[in-house]
Amino acid sequence: MVMSLLLALPGAVGLWLVTGGRGLPVRPARWVAAATAAATLVLAVVVVALGSSVDRPWLPELGMRWSFGLDGISVPLVLLTATIGLLVAAHAWAEMPTGGSPATFLGCLLLVEAGALATFAARDAVLFFVAFEVVLVPMWLLVGRYGDDHDPRARADAAHRFVLYTAVGSTTMLLGILLLLARAGTSDLRALADGAGGALGGGTQLAVAALLVLGLAVKVPVFPFHTWLPPAHTTAPTAGSVLLAAVLLKMGTYGLVRLPVATVPDGFTRLAPVLAVAGTVGIVWGALVCLVERDLKRLIAYSSVAHMGFVVLALASGSETGLQAALYANVAHGAVSALLFVVVGGLKQRWGSVDLTVPRPALRETSPRLGFVLLLGLAASLGLPGLAGFWGEFLAVYAAWDPAPERSRALFVACAVAAAVGAALAAAYALRVAGIVWAGDRPDPEVATTPDTSGVERVVLGVLAVAVVGLGVAPMVLLGTTADAVARIGGGP
């Protein structure tokens, strides 16, 4: 009951804001969206506390059930999504993009949240796919209509690229799901994880795993399927960027854990080396691009590619530590990237562009709070111990160093070394950004100073900063939540 409400509330209010309530003025619309997002967060906490679930037939023809419920793997992501949902709704007080009615904008945010929650809670493979598709149109609207209003053509291009890439990925994933459904006879993710999928023959498992991994790799995104991400991030409004980085990318990695890793372990094992190499290339490539990239938003997007590389590498290693690392890095990246995108979005709003080649006064002097949060985000992003980013990267490299037995040790060790080099490069680009933006030029008394954070923006940044520090200081809270579920999936023998 509470589970259904958790999904229905943001979905229904979001739909209403997009359709019937489109003409709502900005003030009431903001309150409606924020109240809905807050209620959703409360419901999410209640669902997690009570362990509520729902399970009824939906499409009996496909053997498909309307089945939603949480376990250790989905709990952190559902809480992350609900929190981020509230933060982006609140952020509407700090930044309300032009391009359409404010109610539609807020409705789209809520719809993305509803779709993401449904994706993380789905216990049926086909339902997972349907929920996965729900976020497409609202996100397309957020990027295509409410995005950067400097260049309409680039905006349309970025939005279309996002939709079409994701559609390629999700349709490929659908084929994998349908093949799995046809061969295993059930689409219940729990039954599939408990052996219905693992009992399939080697060839079938490989085919299913290949389709699923290929499809989800677009969403994650894994190198070389990442080219949709930087334009989408550069164009999207701050709230859209935050949702994209902190929630949508997680759907890809969560899907990798839920579908190929849990249901067709043997097939995934055979693909793991390819995935590990792709992830490692993503780490190094992303970091190298960040060293020369001029647009700060695009730079953060490329750093996301690198961070997702760590997640994928950890998943590919196949050990229980690897799975834990992947899930941890996933959530940590959600907090860190949300923080960075709020800061950078705020800077873009203040400066008009975030081109790093334009000399600007030092942020630490003109707006010390904003400067401090940026520095914190960059430090977490480069993996400074004590902050959120550290444990994910550290455990990922550790897991790759010692992969599950049936994987090629030499290859994974090579990947671990390359990933460590990538982490060092991350330090270099983080310091480059800090040097340009935070340390910056001497303030020119004739140039207007950058206003510091205030009001809601300060609260949003404060919550995210606390999360980044909290995850870094007390990783066991999160690792303990996922441990049982990870042990059940098995993570290798």
Binding site: R145, L164, A167
Partner: protein, 488 residues
Amino acid sequence: MSDLVTIDWPVLAPALAPAAGVVVVLVGDAALPRRGGGRWALPVAAVVLLLGALAAAAAAVGAGAQTLRTLCLPAPDGACLWTAGPRTSTLQAGILLAAAAALALLHDGRPRPRDRAVSATLLLAATTGGVAVAAASDLGSWLVALELATVPAVALVALRGSRAAAHGALTLLVTSLVSFALLVLGAALWLTATGDATFSADTVALAWADPQRRAVLVLAVTLLVAGLGFKLSLVPFHAWTPQAYATTDLGTAVFLAAASKLAAVAALLVPVAAIVGAGLDAPALVVLLGVPAVASLGLGTVVALRQTDPVRLLAWSTIAQAGWIVVPLTALDAPALRAAAAYALVYAAATTVAFAAVARTGARTLEDHRGLLRRDPLAGGALGLALLVLAGLPPGVVGLVVKVLALAPPVNAGVWPVVAAGVVAVVVGIAVYLRWFTVLLSGSGDRPAASPAGPVVSQRATRVVLVVGSAGLVLASALPTLLLDLLS
């Protein structure tokens, strides 16, 4: 007489209703030619169609999973000429409702008074044929019903009287004659191969077991698929579609795009069901169905991407969607039949709504729809929903569900080339429909000043079509199982 053939009138009601409507309209027009300027003909036809749809829907719901049979011959094995399971009854209801929608658009298109009775008669006659072909299980009635479903439609296109319409009708006429020739030849070969004048799984299985008769049967199916390919607008038999849609009025276009397509699908399912029932392992037949399906998906979506006239875009989208309808059939198994029927029904509903929105706005180019959602929320919202259903994107969940259903059988049977074409078509299709959707959403600030000022005449019937059609799509999106239950 009754000893020879048993007749169960209520079972025949879906076809009898429009047939009776033809008689009523013709007699009424002959007896009282000037009465009300022929204004009564279209409403009478609409009532008759809705009654027929009601009868078909009642048959689909009430009969449970059993098959209704009538017109049964006593000897020797008691073959029945009319066989309607739930799937057939639901398709019949769809044909009748689509015809009623076409009638509504015809009505609002202000036909000349003298054309009204003729239009109503032609439309009802074609609908009778479409309903009958869905339930026909012998070659003779199948061919006759199929032709009855086609020829009046040609006359409807020609009725507009303009030079372009006459040209379109001529193309359509030549096309349908060729297709009829192919179908007759195919039916004759089917009879030769199976030695049976009905579409029956048993005789198909027997014929398949004999290599020589198998070759004849493959040839028969080739010709039948080609003949129906014309009606279904499958590539390479599609060329008439954009021309006929663009030259005729929107009511007739809806009839061709929805009712006529549903009739063609129902007709195709009759022989395919016999082949599926025989449980053949027949790669040759898979190729026969797969090649036009892949070609339609590819060409239809790619050409639709370049269209600027909404009617032509819908025409090319029809061609692509016809490919989608055939995609599940390449698996030659029982779920495929339901998937094809479900896809056809959802496509027909969405296309009808899209045409109704185009009729309401009178748009000639996509740009005329700029900011439509703000100017006319009913037309804009309905059109947006229809486009999302056609693209298969939530919130048009039902469009996504039928795409999943359509892809499941070929994945299961391992027909990978068709599946791969399906994936490409999904992605390009999304680009096609989102292109139009973007225009609907965009601000109306830079709207061209010369765009039509919106409806001047009353368009009540079109509004009803829009409301009912989008309500159906919303309902089916919320509870897709409602639709699928009707087809099981």
